[in-house]
């Protein structure tokens, strides 16, 4: 057999792919999404707290946020996941039993929070001081002014960077396989790897890669789309019913004086 066809069969064995596909879609894909989405939610909440701590008037809060961010951004994700997954396992055992899955989500969230916190902080700090003054002059407390006026504007400005962080999370979710998941908990990468190990053929792993791309490539386009919209502006929808206005932001030239 010539090397080229060996190579072809190693990566493009359609039968191997077809065999792995059902489990990939019914087990791997949902698990990857659960890990990434729940870590994104928890990481965003923690990130927002870090961002607010990072700009607070308390030196101790700022310092704590700084150290946290430096540590969790500075460590390799794999090391953090292993440290937390193994280090907190006895604690997890008492709370929810031997399942490593929640600790995997926790570790991913803590890592994401460090990055998302920096993203949110830069967005919040980019909002003009006049906005805070405008809100305070109406009688809003500092906390209300931040919550209702400053933070919503700041976060909108950094949505593209936040979506990039989701992409990173989807990829990093593959690392929780270190923690020894049971069969029904395996995400895309682990399922691809298992099939590859039993068949000695990498096609299932390639299929897993294609699944990741199917998730991440559209998201990169979402980033570009939000970016364009923030840059060029868009007329308001005329709806005033949405209390948070999350869906209908129009950042036109006027906003970015």
């Amino acid at each position: 057999m010539d090397p080229l066809s060996t190579l072809w069969e190693t990566f493009f064995d359609w039968d191997a792919m077809r065999e792995a596909l059902p489990e990939m879609l019914t087990v791997g894909l949902p698990n990857t999404l659960i890990l990434a989405v729940s870590a994104a939610l928890l990481g965003s909440v923690l990130g927002l707290l870090l961002a607010v701590a990072g700009i607070s008037r308390s030196r101790w809060l700022r310092w704590t946020a700084r150290v946290y961010t430096d540590v969790f951004r500075g460590l390799p994700a794999a090391a953090t996941i292993l440290l937390i997954g193994v280090g907190l396992a006895p604690l997890g055992m008492q709370v929810w039993g031997p399942d490593p899955y929640p600790l995997g989500i926790l570790a991913l969230s803590l890592i994401a929070a460090a990055y998302i916190g920096e993203i949110f902080r830069s967005g919040i700090q980019s909002v003009e001081a006049a906005q805070l003054e405008g809100a305070r002059a109406l009688g809003f407390s500092w906390a209300d002014a931040m919550r209702l006026v400053i933070i919503p504007q700041g976060i909108r400005r950094v949505l593209p960077a936040w979506v990039n962080q989701l992409i990173a999370l989807i990829k990093d979710s593959s690392l929780v396989y270190f923690l020894g998941l049971v069969a029904s908990q395996r995400e895309l990468f682990r399922i691809g790897q298992d099939y590859a190990a039993t068949t000695g053929n990498e096609s299932a792993l390639l299929l897993a890669g294609l699944c990741y791309l199917a998730l991440t490539v559209p998201l990169t386009h979402v980033v570009n789309w939000i970016d364009r919209r923030l840059r060029n502006g868009r007329p308001a929808t005329g709806s005033t019913e949405d209390d948070d206005d999350t869906a209908s932001y129009a950042a036109t030239e006027g906003d970015r004086r």
């Binding site: 809003f140 932001y249 006027g254």
Partner: protein, 247 residues
């Protein structure tokens, strides 16, 4: 606009001092504005006019001196509650760009005035009607002209039924043809009996609308009095020089 102004009060600023580090910006400012009167504050850039307004609603705390509403010192009050009594309008409008015009006005009504959604909407729409912008309730601030944005900012402040209104160069950022509409709204408000302090470079407005004109220079009110006295019989050389430059 009478509805909003029935509760206006007198304002007294007494010997207010404020320094930013070594920069002594306010050096004993006195200003008295009787209930329902309008005081225009004029003076060169950097003389402390904006800082004075900010000490009145305590966006900046004065180092020394007193601010009285209706004869009572406000320096011991809760600053957030005080700011609901003292409305402020800024040169750059400071509208919230991520909210509709209507929501810019209802936000404080609902969160601070504790009005329900429908009630706040009704108050806000009535207030927008008074500044001639009823049709713009659902627009974004960025879709409005500068003059319209400033009128929204005025409506937003008035919706909270303040007892005193502060204007910090409300028309300085506007194209010339838009200035008149905003000054008109301010003149109406003054005529309706609102107590107002208006920092302005519009000498025509000061002459026609003000009960008192105060000339500020280097952190003090150098001269104050009725417009005729200040404009026609300016005593202090620095005031004369200033008027020569702006008139």
């Amino acid at each position: 606009m009478t509805a909003a102004t029935t509760t206006s009060v007198s304002l007294d600023v007494r010997d207010v001092h404020l320094a930013f580090g070594p920069n002594r910006v306010l050096r004993g400012v006195d200003l008295s504005v009787p209930r329902g009167a309008t005081a225009c504050v004029i003076g060169p850039s950097g003389s402390g006019k904006s800082t004075l307004l900010r000490t009145i609603n305590r966006l900046i705390e004065p180092d020394r001196g007193d601010v009285l509403l209706d004869g009572r010192s406000v320096l011991g009050d809760d600053p957030d509650a005080l700011r609901q009594r003292v409305g402020m309008v800024f040169q750059q409008f400071n509208l919230f760009p991520h909210m509709s015009v209507l929501r810019n006005v209802t936000l404080a009504l609902r969160r601070l005035g504790k009005l329900g959604a429908d009630e706040a909407d009704a108050v806000a729409r009535a207030q927008l009607e008074l500044v001639g912008l009823a049709g713009k309730a659902n627009s974004r601030p960025s879709q409005l002209s500068g003059g319209q944005q400033q009128r929204v900012a005025i409506a937003r402040a008035l919706a909270l039924r303040p007892e005193v209104m502060l204007f910090d160069e409300a028309t300085s950022a506007l194209d010339p043809e838009l200035v008149k509409g905003v000054l008109g709204v301010m003149a109406d408000l003054s005529a309706a009996g609102m107590t107002m302090v208006v920092v302005t470079h519009e000498m025509g407005f000061a002459r026609q609308v003000a009960d008192t004109v105060a000339f500020m220079d280097r952190g003090v009110v150098l001269e104050a009095g009725p417009p005729e006295a200040v404009f026609e019989r300016a005593g202090h050389p620095r005031l004369r020089r200033f008027l020569d430059q702006v008139l």
